[in-house]
Symmetry: C2
């Protein structure tokens, strides 16, 4: 079993790293900066994916898949994009290995050098807009609203599990529109879709808004974003949606014939969220005992731990539980009955606390006699004894409560750590002493005036 976590107050960053590994979410691999997402962590990501995918489809998007590799020359076509993305990336230069002549192992075959280097996609605007040129000719082909679920690589020098890794998983939406207004509407819509997902499913409150010019996506005219506040008072960018203007249409010569027969450049958006959301989820709710998961994204919502001596007692408990487990599952609740005889109840309690399972039910011989269950909730760490007949209903209510409580708590934390400042001196001072969000004055000199 894992050792105790470093308390947040002592070292927040260490606490996070230990938690991710000990709760079986992810770990570093033998490849620098690349993580292994473990089954339990991937189970949460799958739930996120399923919900996001549903929301994308409900807003009229379809999935597709574009190549992993981007020819070097494509990156150069959009001037500011290349500045932003051509720096730290994985470059494929050869396509063959061979046995070393001196028998020392395998080496790169220098005869198999690519004529043009390929970049492992850091993002896919260029390869996708190169494709859109073939797909878009007429106003009838618009809008084109696609998304892809993919892995991308950005060669980060300092990596942290989920928050910043060389390879990460994400989705990237890429849409093409006939008008500027429609593209802006799409970019704004996707910011709101992200915000709804993060607040309703992750129970993480976010601020919606525009990035300043210096923080904009390389190639965007405007970047919309959602920002969440972590427990250490730092902001985490949870998702971005970009209005790309006609920049990529110009770079890749994507034009359409409008209803009047005139050739026009296409308007674009792109938007993405990544496994970084896992980091936001973990950092918002978890405590010194371990992970705390919102029920809507928990791979296991309820765990049942039997307390018994010997085979016979276990089998009696198992038989007794059978209809209850069935009833819980029929109510759409994911239940794990942990009947392993290789670990003691105390070990299991710690394990599920560490893994953030929202509801834990314990049942021993005495509960059997009394017709009760001991029910513990992970968010408040409180326990109560509930009559067996009321259990399923109680658990349903509890899951709802926990989801709401986590969101309420996170909002309260954010309000506590949001400060209104009126002067620059005050701003600088509070930035050092308090952290958190500041409601400050900001002079925007917008490139365009319609938003």
């Amino acid at each position: 079993m894992a050792k105790k976590l470093t308390p947040r107050a002592e070292d927040y960053s260490k606490w996070y790293n230990e938690l991710v590994v000990q709760a079986d979410l992810a770990e570093n691999s033998g490849v620098r900066g690349c993580m292994v997402i473990k089954p339990y962590g991937y189970g949460i990501w799958e739930k996120m994916q399923a919900q996001l995918d549903k929301m994308f489809k409900e807003t009229g998007h379809q999935n597709a898949y574009f190549p992993l590799f981007i020819p070097k020359s494509y990156l150069s076509k959009e001037a500011s994009h290349v500045e932003g993305f051509a720096k730290e990336c994985a470059v494929v230069t050869h396509y063959r290995l061979k046995n070393a002549e001196d028998g020392s192992g395998i080496v790169v075959d220098q005869d198999a050098k690519l004529e043009e280097e390929l970049i492992v996609r850091p993002t896919s605007e260029t390869i996708i807009w190169d494709t859109y040129r073939r797909w878009i000719q007429s106003y009838r082909d618009l809008p084109l609203k696609l998304n892809q679920w993919a892995n991308v690589v950005r060669w980060e020098m300092r990596t942290r599990l989920f928050l910043r890794t060389a390879e990460f998983l994400w989705q990237e939406g890429h849409t093409a529109h006939a008008t500027r207004e429609e593209a802006i509407e799409e970019a704004e819509q996707m910011m709101h879709v992200y915000a709804s997902f993060v607040e309703e499913f992750m129970a993480v409150p976010v601020v919606r808004g525009l990035k300043s010019e210096s923080e904009r996506f390389a190639g965007a005219e405007e970047t919309y974003c959602i920002e969440a506040l972590m427990q250490d008072g730092k902001a985490l960018q949870a998702g971005t949606s970009h209005f790309l203007g006609q920049n990529f249409a110009k770079a890749f010569d994507v034009k359409f014939q409008d209803k009047e027969g005139k050739q026009e450049l296409v308007w674009a958006t792109s938007w993405g969220v990544s496994t970084r959301l896992m980091g936001a989820l973990i950092m918002t709710h978890s405590d010194d005992q371990g992970l705390v998961l919102p029920p809507k994204l928990a791979p296991i919502q309820v765990v049942i731990v039997p307390i018994y001596k010997g085979e016979e007692q276990l089998s009696r408990i198992a038989d007794y539980l059978d209809p209850y487990i069935k009833e819980l599952r029929e109510a759409g609740i994911s239940v794990k009955f942990d009947d392993r005889d290789t670990h003691k109840p105390g070990f299991k309690f710690n394990e599920y606390e560490l893994k953030g399972v929202p509801v834990r039910i314990a049942i021993g011989s005495r509960d059997l006699e009394n017709g009760t269950f001991e029910i513990a909730r992970r968010d408040t760490l409180s326990k109560e004894s509930i009559a067996a007949a009321d259990m399923v209903k109680h658990v349903q209510g509890l899951l709802k409560d926990i989801q709401e409580n986590l969101f309420t708590k996170a909002i309260a934390h954010r309000e506590e750590h949001t400060t209104k400042v009126d002067g620059y001196e005050e701003f600088k001072e509070l930035l050092e002493s308090k952290g958190g969000f500041f409601l400050a004055h900001w002079t925007v000199q917008p490139k365009r005036k319609t938003v």
Copy 2:
């Protein structure tokens, strides 16, 4: 609209290539050997994924995610594996681009050379078994049954959409077991899971069996496979499941302590199917008019085409259809009502025939008066007029019929093209003249005798 397809009888391979592109399934990209999977093609792949994923989970597997990159040295650790996979692969040698000093664009930064080259995974046994070493210590950690959905790259010189591409999408299962018997059982089970999926959902009959030694996976002791017969009389390998013995455990030093406290090497399997299944699906059922899809995997099961003159007629048809569409959807049928005013009905008919939509419903003013629908099925290209009140029930039956009919037809084709041969001369002659499957004599000299 697309031009007519080259008939299969004229040039089967050309027919296939044209069909894949014209039916909007996939196309070649600007990156050599890498395809773009278009939304309609990806929609079929998503249905395959969802069903396979369900079957993997029902057989006790969990998903996880391992790095895209494999250090070169890992590949060398398992002797026959490196022979099979270290040849044609994408090699990452650098991690940065920079602006050329002469201002000619971006170039690879020679200062950013990796100490050890990274290979874009052609398959993940090595990186996964390097990880399993950390995860497996005791018999309590076994079995470990994981799967990942991922992209892989094998630098093929001659590529064909879906059938052989440099990058492809797949799933790869990797399991670890305490005993040889359990690992063999797992490998056999997954062959059967694949066979069930391919037969029940793709309506493609397969032969299950063992690969000969020369065709085994590099690193396997035994390779189980399912093979399907295409319309041109050639076999297509639709899925493989490997019993890997202790080869990877030896190479990566993965041992566990058994119940008696003894250190033992772990037994392994791996198994995969890929976007190649799309090729099998297309080639098995389609005809000279275009794609023919089994209803269970069709993104659109029923398309409704209105035949009308003017806005008013269209809106009358749309209103009339409303409750029928609702009823079809409530029956779990995916329906598209194609009310585009930019294309004529004849164009639409051709498009959905080309795209293999199983059932097409046409409705015009006369049908409205008569209370009928014209219903056409894609597999037989036959049409009939059905009373409106019976429509939903009729369509439900039709979808079932089409699914069965495709499988029956494919079985009949296979039987027709399966020949029993008793001598080598006969075998050679028939191979040239008839093609198809041969039931021939084969002397196996098994490495192990238990299977």
